[in-house]
Amino acid sequence: MDFALSPEQALIRDSVARFAAEANAGEDPWPTFAELGWLAIGAPEDLGGFGGPLETMLVAEQLGRGLVAAPFVSQVVFAGTILRAAGRTDLLEPLTLGERRFAVAYEEPGARYDPARVAATVRRDGAGYVLDGTKARVLDAATASTIVASARLGDDVALFAVPADAAGVSPAPYAAEDGHDVSTMRFEAVRLGADAAIGDATNGAAILECALDHAVAALCAEALGIMTVMLETTVAYTKQRVQFNVPIGSFQSLQHRMAEMFVECELARSAATRAAMILDGEPEPHERARAASAAKVQIARSGRFVGQNAIQLHGGIGMSEEARIGHYFKRLTVLERLLGDAAFHRERYASAAAGRPRVGTPS
């Protein structure tokens, strides 16, 4: 058991932190990400890839700290894990080089985050397929040239690579509260080639669950970065804001609130780190799901507490669009529900826990 970062890991963390501190909003970060190799995290070595869930955690945490609105989790982690698990190096390689962008379309209206509740259908059509259905909340679809969509092929859930400009694909993009791009997508009689199938018809659901766990773990790290900054900012603010002739941070009711925020941040750090370390050990699917879902529940709880109280302790300033603390709050609030909220993941944790071994941590 070892909690220390390797020199390489510390280097990645520091270079992402530097990037995040200097990043300009509105500028496409993808060329820099590609150049520095961050798009290849988790990819096989023969594609120039390196690292895995631990490096992903370090990158995502720093992106969270800097509030960088980059589609790192949706593309590199979520789509990247699907393509890696399915062995589609022909698609993964352009992703790692920054030449091609992907979005994952798995949620559906009314499915309440559940990747297994799929109404979209695919039927065979000669050597190819025809796709019909509607997908909700597709992250970062506006910049993607390929949509990875889940659909029912007979009784199975299968995954397909859909060109974003194919006939019958109609995206309805909208700006989410945190400034990220999100789309609802309709697929109407979209004709796909034989090579559109990612994996085979029997492993779509398993690949999707695996990628979901990796993406959830990464989102937890991003949320951790955000809430840590929110705590630091709040502590600094209450030390300099004077009322009744004293800094408001000298009031015990506020001190206790910030101590509670600190405890929540530390539990969140443990939950996110634990998930990344368990995923790094390539555990059985139920262990993996249990770790990722536990982290998401903890992050949701901690994040809501830290976020709400950071705004409260900033007072009127916290309500102002001009102050950065509110932007962190919006992203954190959106993250709480991305890829499943606390209720969904608590239920997923409980079912994954049903057949668990007795020892709490994996051996």
Partner: protein
């Protein structure tokens, strides 16, 4: 970063599990598991003797004084497997509290006199900190130790003293100099409980238990050589000990025991309520995050840092989880809440009060970590 246990650690886990299964007396295991009957001194003593005979009684001590030489991970494994096997938690006052203080601040004569009987279990200890007028504001304590030649004469009252009725010794915080600022005038003194002038009076708690006492000192003469460290250095010993105490009071293995007990209860009583199941899952998730936080603290300790203010996180969250689990058992049983669930619920209200109330822990975090 790597979470895997080594082969040696896995073998060690098996060894501990087998030892607890084989050597823990059945009647003690039953008492701990069922929670219906309080453990008595002889129960603690019998398990203490087993651990001592095996050389496992003092994991936190240096090897030279009879410690195990275990790594932090081994100590973690030992605590987990002891809990899973329903072993009782040994009383902390000798092994985890005064022991490390004597090792760190005592002299050779004090180490030779006191460490062996603490390790063997031949002498039980209790903790003389709180007073009727000094709870959270511990440094305001009024118990006086006046120097008369080679002895201190102690007068005052200590309260909430767990196991004082069984104890052979008490470590006492007493004021040796009332003329200096309150933190500076306190000394740490070891007191034989058979010394004339000591009266122990039991305090019955809201759960009907009799585990705590008030201890009255009237002209109790204690040799000066029983003082640990210099006169006036008592506060240093007191806070050193409190930080160790807080890591222990997280009671993570105990939380795991209790979570298992709630699961057993739900099964035995056939309680199939999704709201109860959800609350249990939520508590277990928080417990996993807490257990991992303890591993992080242990890893920092292995790297040479002694427990610092971070142990306040463990104390706050661990005691909250213990209380939440007892509350859940009560709610799960609903109108049929039996005496044992109610008694445990009532008893565990103490956890957020003792060892520095959780409000005091928040003061510590605010002042020492957040620098507010």
């Amino acid at each position: 970063m790597n979470l895997a246990y080594t082969d040696e650690e896995r073998a060690f886990r098996e060894e501990v599990r087998a030892f607890v299964a084989e050597r823990l007396p059945d009647d003690i295991r039953r008492k701990v598991r069922d929670g219906e009957e309080a453990l008595v001194k002889d129960d603690y003593y019998r398990w203490h003797r087993e651990l001592h005979a095996k050389g496992w009684v003092a994991p936190g001590w240096p090897r030279a004084y009879g410690g195990t030489g275990w790594t932090p991970v081994q100590r973690h494994i030992f605590a987990e497997e002891s809990a899973y096997g329903w072993a009782p938690r040994l009383l902390p006052f000798g092994l985890q509290m005064v022991g490390p203080v004597i090792i760190t601040f005592g002299n050779d004569a004090q180490r030779e006199r006191h460490l062996p009987p603490i390790a063997s279990g031949e002498e039980f200890w209790c903790q003389g900190y709180s007073e009727p007028g000094s709870g959270s504001d511990l440094a305001s304590l009024q118990t006086r130790a006046e120097r008369h030649g080679d002895a201190y004469v102690i007068n005052g009252t200590k309260t909430w003293i767990t196991a004082a009725q069984w104890a052979d010794w008490m470590f006492v915080l007493a004021r040796t100099d009332p003329t200096v600022p309150k933190h500076a005038g306190i000394s740490f003194i070891l007191c034989d409980m058979r010394t004339p002038g000591i009266t122990v009076r039991p305090i019955v708690t809201i759960d009907g238990g009799a585990e705590i006492n008030e201890v009255h000192f009237e002209n109790v003469e204690v040799p000066v050589e029983n003082r640990i460290g210099e006169e006036g250095d008592g506060w240093k010993c007191a806070t050193f000990l409190l930080e160790f105490e807080r890591t222990g009071t997280a009671g993570i293995p105990y939380c795991r025991q209790q979570a298992q007990a709630v699961r057993d209860l739900l099964r035995e009583e056939r309680i199939d309520d999704p709201f109860i199941a959800e609350r249990l899952a939520e508590i277990e998730i928080r417990l996993e995050a807490l257990a991992f936080t303890e591993l992080r603290v242990l890893a920092a300790e292995a790297a040479g840092n002694r427990p610092g203010p971070e142990s306040s996180i463990l104390k706050i969250t661990g005691t909250e989880i213990q209380q939440q689990l007892s509350e859940l058992a009560l709610d799960a049983l609903g109108p049929y809440a039996e005496h044992k669930a109610m008694a445990r619920y009532l008893n565990l209200r103490k956890t957020s009060i003792y060892a520095g109330s959780n409000e005091i822990q928040k003061n510590i975090i605010a002042k020492r970590i957040l620098k507010l």
